[in-house]
Assembly symmetry: D3
Homo-oligomer: 247 residues x 6
């Protein structure tokens, strides 16, 4: 059930205990992919995952601005501080808990949100009433071997966009995007990433080769991510979420 389209009486009459909240970001994705990429992809995976579950799942509206200061040198990138992001996500989910949607998956499309969402999930789970539970799911970590190809505006995101919103990919700029892309994320010395901003290691904001992200690959990614999300939803629907005992 799409919460935005439903009425309160529809919500009252549904039996769902599960909810998903797409969490995105509005940030640069190179010269060929839109600033809204992480919203589009998070929504697509959330919807596809919910379809594959044989239970009612409430689907909240996507959170559009995330932890993306790392891309601020690129025009149009929006961001909030991690503190504000955590509060906004946490309180939004608490309002879902209030109505009995007590098992929530945060379907995330942006790497910069990962740490913050883990912290939010822990707090929602530990501090909520006994029975509440929230966990983040980042789609590009859940696509098997493909995951190692994740970059930024690179093969995976470009592929998924070509599958779910091809009109948003500037095909005529893909070669240029590829030519100036960085090979990997960050500047690493002794297993520490010395860079905090993508502008430190990528001229055009792209990491990885977007030419390796065909629509066919996008279809496969969507299938893999949706199946993974569906398994996760089943797992948390069945999960004993009571808090562990003290030793």
């Amino acid at each position: 059930m799409d919460l935005s389209d439903a009425t309160w009486t529809d919500v009252r009459d549904c039996e769902a205990e599960l909810a998903v909240v797409p969490v995105g970001s509005t940030e640069q994705h190179g010269p060929h992919a839109p600033l809204g990429t992480d919203v589009v992809t998070a929504e697509a995976v959330a919807d596809a995952g919910c379809e594959r579950v044989d239970r009612e799942v409430v689907r909240a509206p996507a959170i559009p601005v995330g932890v993306a200061e790392e891309h601020r040198q690129f025009p149009g990138t929006m961001w909030v501080s991690p503190d504000t992001f955590r509060s906004y996500v946490r309180e939004s989910v608490e309002s879902l808990f209030y109505h009995g949607f007590e098992r929530v998956v945060l379907v995330n499309g942006h790497g910069g949100n990962v740490d913050a969402l883990r912290e939010v999930g822990a707090r929602l789970t530990r501090d909520g009433d006994e029975g509440t539970y929230a966990v983040p799911f980042t789609w590009f970590e859940a696509v098997g071997d493909h995951s190692s190809d994740m970059g930024h505006g690179g093969p995976l995101e470009t592929a998924l966009l070509r599958e779910v919103a091809p009109e948003l990919v500037r095909e005529d700029r893909v070669d240029e995007a590829s030519a100036d892309a960085a090979d990997g994320w960050g500047e690493w010395v002794s297993y520490a990433n010395l860079a905090y901003d993508s502008a430190e290691f990528s001229d055009n904001g792209v990491v990885g080769d977007p030419r390796e992200g065909s629509a066919e690959r996008g279809e496969e990614l969507l299938e893999l991510a949706a199946a993974a999300l569906a398994r996760l939803l089943e797992a948390i629907a069945e999960r004993d979420v009571s808090r562990p005992e003290r030793r």
Copy 2:
């Protein structure tokens, strides 16, 4: 320019100084209108207003969850605290300021956001670099005599939905919505509203008669609101936003 669909290079190449940020809420709007009403209407007005301006205007993604605890007794209503809402809006706008979009209108679709947005606008304007400016615009306050008919899920919102998203109005529940609606917002004694929650004075969450909100009226509302927003955008584009001198 729709920020979500644009690439960072598109944004770099545009000349805009103006931006609009639609601000909505996901909250009950009676048995006949969707929880996403305030997002849909804020976006529609924002887009229609920008179209009527002969300047480039950047259009940010809509903020979907607002100050709506007042509707929490109705299933599906989402909300964050005023503090978190203020921070989320403020920091989102500051990221627009960062890129040179220094004159911003917060196009609002929800009454519960009004006070918070005024506070945010003041802080953004006073605390920002000399030259930055932000002001809220609430569409249903800007539709002339119609404004006095505003309720909740009532004539104005139902009319505008019928114009911009008719598929979201449950026409078969409008009579019921009307029958149980409250006549006015709040419980007033000595010019003070004693009620804090809509459930204190409305059984089904509706205030005002949605039957009085035809699609024709919606068309007129959209025209009025869009024209008003366009005038506002022109005004702030030309405005001297330097801070006033001390006496």
Copy 3:
């Protein structure tokens, strides 16, 4: 019972459940009216209102500094941030709740406090123990048709001062105050107020004509405001303040 003058044993022995907290501001009121206007008027109305109620009401000391950054260009204006103001008022009222004064009216004398007090009242009412309740009352909104003449240091405030503290009105500067006054509050385009500071639209800080504020009018205003406050106190004394049920 004036809390400041009472001893704790007096308070222990009284039966009051009602309390009023005058809330003012120390801010410019033109060349003819004192910075303390909003404290003086809030206290006068609070006291006159309590007198007209046939119940014991505890009267707390006035809060002297409010949300008045909008007047900062005028020397002597004091202010705190809205966040700090909300915390200070809220915690002060919580300490009254602690002693059983669980129904509280915030008697306000300053327009800039209105939004913040509504937010505080909601939080006190929703978050407190079942049975607690707080609501703001702004005297110049509760004087019938006079209310439309409210400005700043204008007819209403000058009138009330002449009634309750005539020695504080500089009669020899009233003509000058009037001559340089603004006609209305703010700079409006498309129903949005573009101005955040009074110095943007008033040279001397006055809005409205103080010459139209005679002592006789002040007497009437005090009577109207006091009667309104008394009705409000009676209403909340009888009010069922249990929280509404979920739908």
Copy 4:
């Protein structure tokens, strides 16, 4: 110059760089002395001190609610958290700094405020523009040998009240107040005070014998405190408040 009674034009025309802010508390002072004792005494000392200085000094309105949770078991006691108190005082003083009153004495009447005011003074001094300075002054620490007799509602406060507001002392309850008073403040073991609340060591909230607080003693206390405050004001008017150099 009393800021509350002055107009902004009066303030504009004065030459003051010094300001005093009386800081009180509304809290139990035994069965014989009013809850407002700390406000009354702080104001009296502030006014008397300013009179003795041959410079213009701005006198702000008194802050009426302080850090007094320690008396919460006694009806009528009001308090805010130390965090909120610090913010309220700090921002109030910052608004005075804004107008050029850059050397400020916080004239304090309540022991529970002492630590918080020291912290506020440090922050105002260190964080403000070069040239700003604020320091707390607690009157009963500045009355020579008398200071060792300070208690709570005891000899010093009762004496000063009898001098400046005798009508507020319930003379017919002084014997009773004395009989049940504690000898000293706190419960001490190994130089640590084990008690956090006055109710832990005083049955009626009084510490020290109020019978030892005659009006004559009050007159002397006022003279001593006022003279001390005047010396302090002179000292900070002449003080080099530039920040110390790094070593």
Copy 5:
């Protein structure tokens, strides 16, 4: 039991209800004494005190950075804000409460921490579950007549260092430290300390004469402080920590 050296199974098997948390600071102590002085001394006193108690006491690791901005002009001084310090200490102690160590002494070695620790102790005691209790103990306030000789890097601290960590005292710089030392802490006018930073009144950061701090005196100080702490631990072990009743 030293918590850092113990395993969780050791902790599970112990019967302690008492805990001590050494609280220090890393800050200048003159040219002859180390920046870690307040950690070393707090730990030494904590350990010596625990040894003298015939009960199991858990000893937490020392908190190394405190409220020491007052020494910031001297290289190497570390500090956090009072707010952060209070949160860090409070939450650390709450985690001890969680495991049943509900009576806690904060063994403090730094004057700048005193006010903040008192506030933390109050909050921990008032806000915790019925049965929890925390109180600060500052060693140099608990050494009888010696206490009046406390300065900074002066007789008491130098003496205690010579007793517990003589290798850290630069004996060849003690004469120099003494020569440039201030006689007393602060700059006092009318019983108010006008100075906020030690650099305002001490050239080399020392207050008091370190030559008067022999190892023999250090031995006596340690004995006195440890005995005082032991008495305090006994007292709070036996203390009725239920909250006082309302009047």
Copy 6:
């Protein structure tokens, strides 16, 4: 230079621009390893790394309590909230920046601190004066192939303890520790870790087999980690830390 042992004059006279701050945790490490494991190991690596660098490096005291709520079911575990931890670390480092130690490595020994330290490093680097820089380094991520054996109280930590503090390992409990240990960290479904607390997947708090952590392996780990840290220190000493340009 060990900051705790140095005097301020020593610090003044040194030429260092580099600093390291060991960051640990006081938390369960199974029945065989001490609660202080993460402090001991972070300090050992920090010291060994500094020794291998041919530059002066300031070594701050270790931060002893971190983000460890995940182990709270095991007695003795201490923790603070992520917010408080971030503030404490950030402000501590800012005080080092103040003295010119503008390139800082946070040498971390606890997995639960990783996300928070990355956030702190970003904020310190972005918000500080041009020229400041801070980056976290977690030793067990920097030991080559060994890193994949990290657990909790498992092979790596046990090995390093046996090398640097063998007296703290309870050899007689290692078999028991091993027998009840979990194989891996967390409960994974669809690449999401469903568990928030170690008690959800480990009976005795151990993950991985401590028997595989010989002293010899510990020696190698220390060598690897120290060498990695030394390389990192060299790299940031030479690094251009100016902020990247806008696109």
